[in-house]
């Protein structure tokens, strides 16, 4: 007799995307895992054609409400590459500060309201808050301090409007930034507490072999610049991204899946990959904190993602404080540029991982072509691989438990589809089939 178990996780419509999962198990073997993501951000590539390049950072910011800065950063760096614009160090530093604000607010939200409930056995951040009010309040406070950076530097906390090709529309006054310091100092202390808290969570023993991919910069923890680097030791200039990685269509998803070119293998982007490949560039306060947490880095356990995020939040607070302490407004706020027919690309490190943009522009100053590869689509194939291995260890459990654990695993990647705490609604289809012996 052949036993087939089919676990369906139905699609739920969300503003920024839809996720669905089907796992087919036959005779205690996982036959098929399909994670389907339908990504509205894909439509933005078409929206951008014909738009003026000055509009592009504000349009791409709308792709995501949690990580708009990432889209803006990849946009302006790609367009500046096309226009052969080099921004001065002061602008570069301000862009890192803006990215720090985003990492703080995005990671804080994910750790406290999306991922921690999985570890602590709650079905939502709301239900967890009842028993862990101090921790949730601390997380929301940290998120608020990240948002404050975005408000001052970006003009507003969600979908900032101050980022421009060539720099910023307006530079903040020094006192506007120094006013943030008390909260940032407090946030640094709180984030060290958070790292200690999350490191004591109960991590499932699950350590697949991953190909981590992240930017690596010689002098700093990567945000806006660097060489794309793999755990394998390979490295590529950003210009070569599309030769090293390819996007493919699969019948079960309208999203493109990224894989290594030629090999067709998945790879892993995000905080764990960044941390594993950039450990010695992490801020000393974050490294010192990590030394006392009892987790060995590099790690291959995806459930350690919550700790990686906590360490990156420490880094972001510490670096923000230093950037502000050394900040002197520069004139002009924006570099001039001459329009031309050109093409440029850039990759930056979004909270969820590598984010690649490429644009072709013309001498009239409009976009002819745009390509955007978000981290979630780069991780999608790896998530499926993980699920295949993970479900194999869970087959003795009932379908409900398996579905819960699948959500738990998927949320390690902080995909955009999990912006809402419970993005997967589960229905179980059990089927048993009698077969005649051959």
């Amino acid at each position: 007799m052949t036993e087939e178990r089919v676990i369906h996780v139905e699609a739920l419509a969300r503003v920024e995307g839809e996720g669905a999962l089907t796992i087919r198990v036959r005779d205690k073997r996982v036959e098929e895992v399909q994670l389907r993501i339908f990504e509205p951000p894909r439509l933005f590539e078409a929206f951008l054609r014909g738009r003026r390049i000055e509009e592009v950072p504000d349009i791409t910011a709308r792709i995501c409400g949690i990580c708009p800065v990432a889209y803006q950063m990849s946009t302006v760096h790609a367009l500046e590459a096309a226009l052969d614009v080099t921004v001065p160090r002061s602008i570069r530093q301000l862009r890192r500060l803006l990215y720090c604000g985003e990492w703080i607010e995005s990671h804080a939200l994910h750790m406290h309201l999306l991922q921690a409930p999985d570890f602590l056995g709650y079905d939502s951040g709301l239900s967890m808050a009842q028993d862990f009010p101090r921790e949730v309040t601390r997380g929301l406070t940290i998120k608020k301090y990240g948002n404050e950076i975005l408000e001052v530097l970006g003009g507003r906390a969600i979908h900032p409007v101050n980022v421009a090709v060539g720099g910023f529309h307006r530079l903040p006054r020094r006192e506007e930034l120094t006013a943030l310091l008390p909260h940032l100092q407090e946030g640094l202390a709180l984030s060290i507490e958070v790292a200690s808290w999350v490191s004591r969570l109960n991590f499932p023993a699950f350590t697949p072999s991953y190909e981590w991919v992240a930017l690596v910069h010689p002098d700093e923890y990567p945000m806006n610049e660097g060489v794309i680097t793999s755990r394998t030791g390979e490295a590529w200039l950003v210009n070569d991204y599309e030769t090293a990685f390819e996007e493919i269509h699969l019948p079960h998803t309208t999203a493109l899946q990224s894989r290594r070119s030629g090999r067709g293998t998945p790879y892993f982007v995000g905080p764990i990959a960044r941390l594993n490949l950039n450990w010695d560039r992490l801020h000393p306060i974050a490294r010192q904190t990590a030394d006392g947490l009892g987790i060995a880095w590099p790690t291959s356990n995806p459930f350690h993602g919550i700790v990686a995020r906590a360490l990156e939040v420490i880094h972001a607070f510490a670096e923000s404080i230093e950037l502000i302490q050394h900040y002197q407004p520069t004139i002009p706020a924006r570099q001039e540029y001459s329009l031309r027919d050109a093409e440029g690309c850039a990759a930056t490190e979004a909270p969820r991982g590598l984010l690649y943009h490429r644009y072709r522009i013309n001498r009239e100053g409009t976009v002819d072509f745009a390509k955007i590869v978000p981290p979630t689509s780069q991780n999608q194939a790896q998530i499926e691989e993980d699920l295949r291995s993970w479900v194999t260890t869970l087959l003795d459990h009932d379908d409900r438990h398996i579905a819960q654990q699948c959500e738990f695993l998927i949320r390690n990647y902080d995909p955009c589809i999990s912006c809402a705490t419970h993005f997967l609604r589960v229905t179980i289809d059990r089927r048993e089939e009698s077969c005649s012996p051959p």
Binding site: G65, L126, I158
Partner: protein
């Protein structure tokens, strides 16, 4: 508008922005502010989650734009948690909507005066807007149809602030 009643520990929050019909939460506050009792804390919030960071208060009054529960300009008033399920339906997944925030706030910080004024601890005012649909331009100006509603809502909220 006039007021004389002491309403200590009351916080009035307007959720909004500087754009289009989303301004209504702020515009209602601007109507109220010159006439509000002096000890009322007034907060211009950009997102619902800002409500979580309002200092402890015995009475919270929130005004925000809303969509889908009536004709443009309709004014709703609910006393939390007695809010129709239809209105509480989440509409975005990027951040928390107002009612999720109020639920979270209950968990994190029960209203200090809940024992004395349980029904009035949190009051929510919603004004139906129209220009929030996909593909509609977010205009810098406010829809004309909303101007009378803003004035009416301001008067009603001021009445609540002064007489509750």
């Amino acid at each position: 508008m006039q007021s004389s009643v002491n309403t200590s520990h009351t916080t009035l929050v307007g959720v909004g922005s500087a754009h289009g019909d989303d301004q209504v939460g702020w515009l209602v506050l601007r109507e109220i502010e010159p006439h509000a009792p002096s000890d009322i804390r007034i907060v211009y919030a950009r997102t619902p989650v800002d409500v979580l960071h309002v200092p402890a208060t015995s009475r919270l009054v929130v005004v925000d734009s809303c969509l889908g529960a009536g004709a443009e300009g309709t004014i709703h008033h609910w006393r939390w948690p007695d809010v129709p399920a239809l209105v509480q339906r989440p509409r975005n997944s990027h951040d928390w909507d107002l009612f999720e925030v109020l639920r979270l706030q209950e968990m994190l910080r029960p209203a200090p005066a809940a024992s004395s004024t349980p029904a009035a601890a949190v009051s929510v005012w919603g004004i139906e807007v129209a220009l929030s649909q996909p593909r509609q331009t977010v205009a810098p100006h406010l829809s004309e149809a909303l101007r009378p509603a803003i004035r009416t809502a301001a008067l009603q909220i001021l009445g609540e602030l002064c007489h509750a």
